[in-house]
């Protein structure tokens, strides 16, 4: 147990360093980009005094190092600061608190769909290797990997929202208000995010199932007279799960990239669209806050996946 604690402590330290570097990078990139938050709020024709007052209020007139350290100090106290432009003066933590559940919901929804679809498709493809079902599943997977998610989004909207009118084309009900409505209105965006992931997961699962099925221990298990169902579940599937879970962990970072795009397309007021809006409006602290949160999510997922893999695979130590 102490080994696990030690491992988590080490990972936390690494995560803090990664977040620091990430935050610095975003800070520098944002400052280097053209545009001015003061002008973005006050308009191109604002009086110079007003602009100076705005800059002073948000410490924009101080040296960059000072600005960064000021922001970092707030971060350490759990304070993201206040929004500059898109929601002038409102604490960013409030914005995030309203947006995070939405993005988390859509992201988890997408992962759930991707896992369910890939478990089914990957298993069918492996069980019927080389036969029609395998060819169909593998071809669908290639299609899923090759389709850009934004393009798939428009196809889904066109077919299921505008064509058959089964789902809304735009807008999303927060799960805080109604889970069932969120499940309904979030279905198309979740599918759009899930499709490429499901394809990658399914291919991985198929490959690892076939690999495990060819192992000597499967022949030995059959020689004991264990039933095919038992051998599949406890030997083949159980051992194929390890690379499968690893791949899920690796894909979560792409998932976040997808979320940003898909939230814009479907008009979901999540963290992704917040980050995009804030970037366009030069709302530096809001962009930085979103980045830090995204980084935190990726790092947390990595730790969870590592723990899960260690639990699944006795040969791996933390």
């Amino acid at each position: 147990m102490s080994r696990t604690a030690l491992y988590i402590a080490g990972r936390l330290a690494g995560a803090a360093a990664t977040i620091l570097v990430g935050a610095l990078l975003v800070f520098v990139v944002m400052k280097a980009a053209p545009g001015d938050p003061a002008l973005s709020v006050l308009g191109e024709n604002a009086r110079p005094e007003a602009v100076a007052a705005f800059r002073h209020k948000y410490h924009l007139d101080e040296p960059l190092v000072g600005q960064f350290l000021y922001w970092l100090g707030g971060l350490l106290r759990g304070d993201f600061g206040r929004s500059l432009t898109i929601a002038g003066g409102i604490p960013i933590s409030e914005l995030v608190a309203a947006r995070l559940p939405i993005t988390a919901f859509v992201g988890l929804y997408a992962i759930a769909i991707a896992v369910a679809v890939s478990l089914t498709m990957g298993t069918i493809a492996a069980l019927y290797r080389g036969r029609a079902a395998d060819t169909v599943a593998t071809s669908v997977a290639v299609l899923g990997i090759s389709m850009p998610d934004f393009w798939l989004s428009y196809v889904l909207v066109f077919a299921f929202a505008l064509g058959w009118r089964l789902f809304p084309a735009y807008g999303f009900t927060s799960p805080v208000d109604s889970v069932s409505a969120a499940l309904y209105s979030g279905f198309l965006p979740a599918v759009a995010i899930a499709a490429p992931m499901a394809a990658v997961f399914a291919r991985m699962l198929r490959t690892s199932l076939l690999e495990a099925a060819a192992k000597e221990y499967v022949v030995v298990a059959r020689s004991f007279g264990f039933t095919p169902r038992f051998v599949f579940r406890n030997y083949i599937f159980r051992n194929a799960l390890i690379p499968y879970v690893t791949v899920i962990g690796l894909q979560v970072r792409y998932l976040l990239g997808g979320v940003v795009v898909i939230e814009r397309i479907f008009g979901i007021q999540g963290l992704g669209s917040l980050a995009v809006d804030a970037a366009f409006a030069r709302d530096y602290p809001t962009v930085q806050a979103c980045t830090v949160i995204f980084l935190g999510v990726v790092l947390t997922v990595n730790v969870v996946v590592d723990l899960a893999c260690a639990a699944l695979d006795p040969r791996r130590s933390l």
Binding site: E216, V219, V220, S223, F224, G225, Y235, L312, P314, R315
Partner: protein
């Protein structure tokens, strides 16, 4: 003859490789009596392992197995489909494999394996722990409690093979096919495992087919010997007779190298030449190209089995005058 555990006639196994059929087992006859240990010896590639896997139907999908007779304790097995055959594995016909460490489920502890074996044998896991401790003690594992908690990757080869033997014996099969169970172990452990088999042989009712390329082990463990060459049995007989008065030149070569090296460890590859390619087997005796006593007819005509039971040899030299 009906009291045999296993009777096999004309066993043939073909593999489909790149559209071509290659016959690897070419008409093998075998029989094993209760509690008998039959040694199946021959060099690597002679078809010993495939013969064992064919009997248990454990070969991959590109293998076709056929036989004229496949009788287990008087019961004809040929016509059984996979669903009917599967329950016989483990409880009636079992196998011990060459690579013991790779034989375990790497994700599960030793305890899991023994519990599932108990469930397979008795239909429930009740009292499996006591059974597992006894089974492990019987194969010479000193601290069964501790070993049960280990994962397969934490086992040494010798320990893994002992546990595997314990698992197979816990299933109480009528016939065990042991496929070179000591080949991947170092010399000292190999000797210990052979000693273990010797003890078990006297204590158990199971019949064994012991596949090996080690003459010394075969001589130490087996009641009868079947010598395999190029997918065929070329000589079969009581161990003493086969080793003291071999009739087939191939067996003579094996025992000669064995004698020359006295009691030292020796392998079978010391006969000059190699096994013929089974992609295009020669028309006559498959051993003719390597045989010191080859005659003209050996290259044209494949010899049948000659001699009087129980000692037979597939060679024209053994033909009665």
């Amino acid at each position: 003859m009906s009291d045999l555990v296993l009777e096999v006639r004309d066993l043939r196994t073909r593999f489909q490789l790149q559209g071509r059929g290659v016959e690897v087992v070419r008409g093998v006859d075998l029989s094993v009596a209760p509690a008998e240990v039959l040694g199946l010896i021959g060099e690597s590639g002679s078809g010993k392992t495939v013969t064992g896997l064919s009997i248990l139907r454990l070969l991959p999908g590109n293998a076709e197995v056929s036989s004229a007779v496949m009788r287990f304790k008087g019961r004809e097995l040929q016509d059984l489909d996979e669903d009917a055959f599967q329950p016989l594995r483990g409880l009636s016909l079992a196998m011990i494999f060459q690579n013991p460490v790779g034989a375990f489920n790497p994700a599960k502890r030793v305890a899991w394996h023994l519990r599932e074996i108990a469930r397979r044998r008795h239909g429930s896991e009740q009292g499996w722990q006591a059974g597992a401790r006894d089974a492990l003690s019987a194969v010479g594992i000193p601290h069964p409690e501790r070993v049960l908690r280990l994962y397969p990757h934490q086992l040494s080869g010798g320990m893994a093979q002992r546990i595997l033997i314990a698992m197979v014996l816990a299933l109480e099969p009528d016939l065990v096919i042991a496929d070179e169970p000591t080949t991947n172990l170092d010399n000292i452990v190999e000797r210990q495992i052979v000693a273990l088999f010797r003890r078990l042989r006297d204590r158990l009712n199971a019949a064994f087919i012991f596949i090996t390329h080690d003459m010394q082990i075969a001589a130490a463990l087996c009641d009868r010997i079947a010598v395999m060459y190029a997918g065929q049995i070329v000589e079969v007989g009581p161990t003493r007779a086969v080793f003291d008065a071999p009739r087939h030149p191939y067996t003579q070569g094996l025992t000669a190298t064995s004698l020359a090296l006295k009691q030292r460890v020796k392998r079978l590859t010391e006969i000059p030449g190699e096994l013929p390619s089974l992609m295009s087997p020669p028309p006559g005796c498959p051993f003719a190209p390597r045989c010191a006593k080859v005659m003209a007819r050996c290259r044209e005509e494949a010899p049948p089995m000659f001699g009087t039971a129980p000692h037979l040899a597939r060679c024209f030299l053994a033909e009665p005058a």
